[in-house]
């Protein structure tokens, strides 16, 4: 039995941004990683006490149990409008939300686009896993052609349902948008000499992206950060298989990168 004492210093520890309540997310789901990253970032930036999270309808609906700040529940797709209402009456608050691909890009597409058009100083984290997770695996606006979901059991047909939409292409020409960034929350599978290994560079990059997004809000700008994630349960894959899919398939349709950076927060003004 090892004695844990003052001899040891904590290199990486818990964050006050998380309430400590165990999450309901499926094993392996990157929503949990996002919880740690946002919690840490808000704590480090000293924003927790001023933060108001708007809980969207999707797998993150129970976020009021996890993030240690104020919360407002929004109807499906309406988070950007609710955030605008909060921010315009109380600009000193930091408002953010985690939306799924359906919440932001289907039912909430108008709210998403108009908040960007107005340049509302809010922060949207979009968790893109190409499927509707909470409701059991239906087609999403970001579902790939040919992808099997419960409402496209024979594969998504673009002739009937259209092509997957790329919100970066829709929002990047908008004048008052300040920061559009796509990152990947998925640990990258690599072949090591002893077998399978995961690299976490994407996750560390994601933390920096989250910090940038909040900085942009502090500067008064609109940011939308899209993170590619997995959904092994609804993709009907093992956790390991699901980690390959974004790197093999999803990034062809949704390449990571900086799509807009009005303040040059990542170095170059875009």
């Amino acid at each position: 039995m090892v004695q844990i004492q003052d001899d040891y210093e904590t290199k990486l520890g818990q964050t006050t941004g998380w309430t400590g309540i165990p999450t309901h997310y499926c094993p392996g789901c990157e929503h949990g990683i996002l919880t740690r990253l946002i919690g840490l970032t808000l704590e480090e930036m000293g924003l927790l006490k001023k933060a108001v999270m708007v809980d969207s309808v999707g797998c993150s609906v129970l976020a009021y149990d996890y993030f240690n700040c104020d919360h407002i529940q929004a109807p499906h797709g309406r988070a950007p409008a609710v955030m605008a209402g909060v921010k315009r009456t109380h600009p000193e608050l930091i408002v953010f939300t985690i939306q799924g691909d359906g919440d932001a890009l289907a039912i909430g597409l108008l709210e998403t686009v108009y908040a960007a058009i107005r340049g509302e100083p809010i922060t949207v984290f979009l968790y893109n896993n190409s499927i509707y997770g909470m409701t059991g695996g239906q087609m999403a606006p970001t579902t790939m052609p040919g992808q099997i979901t419960t409402t496209t059991p024979y594969g998504r047909e673009v002739e009937s349902t259209g092509n997957p939409i790329d919100i970066m292409k829709i929002l990047s020409p908008i004048e008052r948008v300040s920061y559009l960034r796509r990152g990947i929350l998925v640990p990258q599978p690599v072949k090591a000499k002893h077998g399978l290994m995961y690299q976490v560079k994407n996750i560390l990059d994601a933390k920096r992206i989250i910090e940038n997004a909040f900085k942009v809000q502090q500067k008064g700008g609109y940011s939308l950060v899209e993170f590619l994630g997995t959904c092994n349960v609804n993709w009907k894959m093992t956790i390991e298989e699901s980690k390959h899919y974004p790197f093999d398939q999803t990034i062809k349709q949704y390449p990571p990168g900086v799509f807009r950076d009005r303040f040059g927060i990542e170095g170059k003004i875009l």
């Binding site: 165990p22 094993p27 929503h31 740690r36």
Partner: protein, 96 residues
């Protein structure tokens, strides 16, 4: 890597420790772990493996041993970043 292949956590190589203490520690909270095995594969030195026993939720939680299959723990923190359940509670290292 299976549970059986992993070395017992009681053996600690004397050259890797300071006065017999491990240089680095990873605290895993078994009740938070969902047995996704991301940390098991992500760890570069093989210090984590799923336990034989079950936690209250019915998962095999990850357990840490300082001496891994590829070497001792270096407190790199990769397990911490990859854990989706915040079950990797802390990564500690011996103060100099």
């Amino acid at each position: 890597m299976t549970v059986a292949q992993h070395r017992s956590k009681d053996t600690v190589s004397p050259q890797e420790t300071q006065d017999g203490r491990p240089k680095a520690l990873v605290l895993v909270v078994p009740e938070l772990c969902k047995g996704c095995e991301l940390c098991v594969y992500a760890c570069p030195s093989g210090n984590l493996v799923l336990s034989h026993s079950l936690n209250k939720k019915g998962y095999h939680p990850a357990i840490f041993s300082y001496e891994g299959t590829q070497g001792p723990c270096t407190a790199c923190g990769i397990c911490y970043w990859v854990c989706p359940d915040l079950a990797i509670w802390e990564v500690r290292r011996l103060k100099k």
